[in-house]
Structures are given as C-alpha cells and as structure tokens.
Amino acid sequence: MLYLLVFLPLTVFLARRETTLLVQLSVLVPFLGLLLAPFLLGTAAGPFRLDGVGLFYLLLTDLIYGLVALFARGYFPREEAWRFYWAGALFLASAHGAYLAHNLGVLWIFVEGSTLASALLVYHKGGARALEATWKYLMLGSVGIAMGLIGVILVYALVGGVTLDWGEVRSLVGEANPEGLKVAFALLLVGFGTKVGLFPLQAWLPDAHAEAPGPASALLSGTLLNVAFYALLRYTALMQAAGLFPFASGLLLAFGLLSLVFGAWFLFGQREYKRLLAYSSMEHMGLAVFALGLGLPWLALFHTLAHSLSKTLAFLGASGILALSHAKEVGRVGGLVLHTPALGVPFTLSLAALGGLPPFPLFFAEFKAVEVAMKSPWLGVLYLVGLGLAFAGLLYPMAQMGFGQGKPLGGRGLDLWLLWVLLLLLLLLGVLPPVEVFKALEVVLWKP
C-alpha cells in the first residue's frame, strides 16, 4: 500500500496533455492521499514506513497540493498547464516518498528527487530569467545535497555500516563516536540547510520562488521547504537520541537567528513582492529551525504548518495579483483591499499572518518560542528584535499593496474562493491551535 502511495501521483501522467483530465487527476490524487494515508499509519513496506510525523507532513503536502492544483486550473493557459501538472506530479511523488521513507538513504534520494522535480516546476516554460533561476537552484541545491550525502555516509559508517533504517539507527546511535556525529551533523545541517533556505545558503530561494509561476511558488514555499526541514528534523532527533542535542541546539539556534535577522534585512530592501515572500520563507524556516534548537520539536512542526498555510495563501494571492496586474513591484500595485477585496483582503491578511499577528497561528508559534527563549534572556531579546525587524520589512508592502495608491484589478476569473478557504483554515488554526496533537507527534519523533 505504501508503494501505491508513492507511485499514486504518477498516475497523473495517464492524462497526457488533456488539461481537464489533468486537473481532475491532480486534485483527485492528493484527495485520495488525504483519505488513504491516515489508515496506513504504522504500516511498513520495504524501506517505507509511515509514522505520525511523516503522516502529518504527508497530509499537509497533499492538502496544499490539492488546493494549488485547483487554483492552477484558472491560472495557466490551457496549452501550458500540462507542464505544471507533470512536474507537480513528479514533485508530489518524491515528497510522498520522502515522508514515507523510513530509511535515511532513501530519504536522501527522495529529497534530491524533489529538488529535481521542483527544478522543473521553476523552469516551467523557460525564458532567460526562469533558466537562470533554475540553473542556480540546481547547482546550489545539488552541491548542498551532496554535502548532506557525506553526512548520511558518515552516519551510516558511525553506526557500523549495518543499517540506515531510521528506527535502528536511532537505537544504535547512542554508542556511536560523538565527535564523528558532530561532523556528520554539521554536514547535514549545511546540506539540508541549503534546501531549507537558511542564511547564508538561501541564495537560490528568492530566485526560484520569484521566477516560478505563481502556483509553483506556492508549492515550493508551502511544501518543498518542508521536505528538507523534515530531513533536518529526523537528524536532529538522532542527535537527541545520541545525547548530543545541546551541541545541535547551538548550531540550530545560530542558523535560526541569522536567517531571521538577515531575512528581515532582505525583506526591508525588497521591492518585488514575490521575492519578498521568498525571503519571508527564509525567515520563517529560520524560526522553525530556531524552535527546533530550543528543544521544542512540536513547536517547529507547528511553525512549519502555520508557515506553509500562510505562505501558500500569500503566494496564491501574489500569483493572482501578478496575473491580473502584470506588475512585479510592490510600488506598482496598490489599494487591493479597497478596490479588489476578494483578492486583497486575504492577501493582505496573509502578510499580517506572516508578520506574526493574531489571530493567525504564527503568532501563537512565535509567542511560545519567545516564552522559552526568554529563559536565556539574550536569546529571547535577539529573537524579539529579529521579529520586530522582520515585521518592519513586511509593513511597507502590506500597507502599499493593501491600501496604497493603485488601480482596481480585474479581468480573468481566478478561483479566489480558495484563498478564503485557506484564510479560514488559518483563522481556525490560530484561534484553536491543536497543541496536544503536536505534543503527541513530538513523542513519536523525540522519544523512542
């Protein structure tokens, strides 16, 4: 059954280039995934095994993929839609594989696979800018992932070269040489950190997010980054099992804070809204890594969930704006809340959500992080300063695009109701954060 789940997305190719059929299949597949996956919890097959954390990310990915696929229907012209759906199917398959993999080697393979598939997503139809972005993404991503592979090899060697099965490695890692593990973790952190988009490894991220077509950007930010983060999560849990968490924590906190602060500065100087959202992804992945470094995996999970939903909403909104206005710069779009509320209200609110305001879930996540970080006050203060700076970076775009000078947008019919669905989800999550669920996931991940 798990193999079925991995290969299910590839059934989309049966539709060939029939757009209608492609859309139907692309929505049906994640829907099936959503239905099927919960029943497969705990089953195993070959190198695959579905545990709670994997299931969580799998469901999240399927949910977002389904929504994005639906949105893409109205976004792409008929003749180029197949490119998106084909690449998307590949991507979804590799994401499924990564979340189902219970073997560190297989996990690596699928993470790399998702890089390649998402490179196709970025490339989409071509053009000089998209090519440039894809090339940079491919190079940086491949080098990073190669570093990660060295880390995987070291871990494999450290546990005696007998197994890469996650459960077994975790029980074996306690006796492994701690110095070697540290080196391995450093390599893994830099390797997967490149894909997560941590500073200063983020260079590919804004290019890829900005040049990919809108729905693809939403997929990249909402799901792709999670794939790499998931790998990082697994390895951090390994370090914890080996009793090396304090060491890992230092690195994670440093990368998290750096990403936060530099993300804030990048945000402040940015004039194109899609790049802006990309930098915001970098900032938020930094925050998730920071939460992980604080020793709160459940919060990191929650943060990625909240970020994925908010960012999907933001990118779908942004792609709608781009499609209707053909302007990339913040300054050339304005007054969306006033003139185009169906699009402007959810988009502006998504920026507020990314700025960490209630009643959105990122507020809860940041609050919890500060609460714990304040135990070592300087950490807490730095975190607060970073959050403030990041908000300052988002403020101008939010004000200008939501309420500034601008023309009403109109024309093509997009499925804007999807944005409201996402907004509703965010509100629900923000008002009633299911902390207990995440605490339970933490147990799966953290305590054998």
Binding site: P47, N103, G105, V106, W108, I109, E112, G113, L116, A119, L120, Y123, G126, G127, A128, R129, L131, E132, A133, T134, W135, K136, L138, M139, S142, V143, A146, M147, L149, I150, V152, I153, L154, Y156, A157, L158, G160, G161, L164, N177, E179, G180, V183, P206, D207, A210, E211, G269, Q270, R271, E272, R275
Partner: protein
C-alpha cells in the same frame, strides 16, 4: 594495500588535473578515468562480495561511460568553444587546489572513523569534494560547473567507499540515478541557456539580484 594507496593517489592526481586543465575534452576524459579508478578501488575493497562488484559495475557503466558520452555529445551539439573560462589562472588554481588539499588532509583525520576500511581514502575524498567546489566557484561555463559537480559527487562516492564499504546497494543505485538525472537535467538546461541567451557563461547570468 600498496595497490590501494596508488589508486587513491591516482584519483587525487586526476582531481588535480581536472582543476588545472583548460580543455573541456581533457577534463571529461579525466573524469571518465577517475571513475575507472574508483571502480577499481571498489573492486579492490569488495573482497569478493558479489553485490559490491555489481554496484561497482553499474556505477562504472553510468558514470564512467554514459555520463562522459553524454557530455561529449553535449559539447559537440552546443557549438561553443571547448576551452574552460575561469576567474583564476592555471597557476593560481593549482595553488588554491594545493591549499585546499592540504586543508583536507589536515581536517580529514577528524573524519576518519574507527573501522574505516580505507582510512587514507577519506582525506582524498574530502579533497575531491573541495576541488569540485573550487572548480564550480571559479569556472564560468555552465558545463564546467557540471563537471565540477561531478567531481564533487565522486568525492562523496569515495568517501562512502572509504568509510564504510559504500552504502546499501539500493541506496547506492538510487544515488547514482539521482546524479544521472541531475546531469541529464543540467544538460537540457544548458541547451536551453544556449538557445535563449546565446552563451553558456554563468557569470553573465546576473539578472536576478537583490
């Protein structure tokens, strides 16, 4: 043991040559040679176990034959000069390569795990990785960056060999498949870059900034 040492040193030598040569054809040939040497190392380490030999053969087939052939085909079709363009002169490249290798040997000790089957291979592997990144950082042609990446990949492979007899077979194959897919995709992209911009100079691809 002496044979293994020689092989490892030869691999390092190919790495150096790949950094210093200015002709793409030569570098591709060197890359093929490096893969032959790696395959030999893996056979030498296999100790008669069949699946290691299978893996070595498969890898040789993909990386020693298929990829070089694909790259030759690529540069023929591209109709660009076969010369490597870079930021660094040959002597400077070699100097930096020497420094990085020294660093790799200095740091590599820390990487060597107890029970590693080929301890002397670890610093060399690390050096290959660093040299690979060096050529990616310093060379402008898209295709030479791909070659740098491939050299890096070989370093990783050597690392796997030296530390632990390589990874489990299916993982190894999956990794090779990914590497091949990456190179294949890169090749397609290079074609498109040439078609779209009329050059394959990555230093001139700087329209995305800020």
């Amino acid at each position: 043991m002496a044979l293994l040492n020689t092989l490892v040193l030869a691999i390092l030598a190919t790495g150096f040559l790949m950094v210093s040569r200015r002709s793409l054809d030569a570098i591709i040939r060197l890359y093929a040679l490096q893969n032959i040497l790696l395959a030999l190392v893996s056979f030498a380490l296999a100790g008669g176990e069949v699946h290691f030999i299978v893996a070595g053969l498969a890898l040789f087939a993909v990386k020693g034959v298929l990829i070089p052939w694909y790259l030759f085909w690529l540069i023929d079709r591209l109709e660009v000069s076969h010369e490597v363009e870079g930021y660094l002169s040959v002597s400077l490249s070699l100097l930096l390569a020497g420094l990085l290798t020294a660093l790799a040997f200095r740091v590599g000790k820390a990487f060597v795990l107890p029970e590693a089957p080929l301890p002397q291979g670890v610093p060399v592997a690390l050096a290959l990785v660093l040299l690979g990144i060096l050529s990616m950082v310093s060379r402008k042609k898209a295709i030479s960056q791909v070659l740098g990446f491939l050299a890096l990949e070989n370093g990783v492979f050597l690392m796997a060999l030296s530390e632990s007899h390589g990874l489990p077979l299916f993982v190894e194959l999956g990794v090779a498949l990914d590497a091949f897919a990456a190179v294949f995709l890169a090749g397609i992209l290079i074609f498109r870059i040439k078609g779209e911009m009329g050059h394959v100079d990555t230093a001139r691809m700087r329209s995305l900034r800020g």
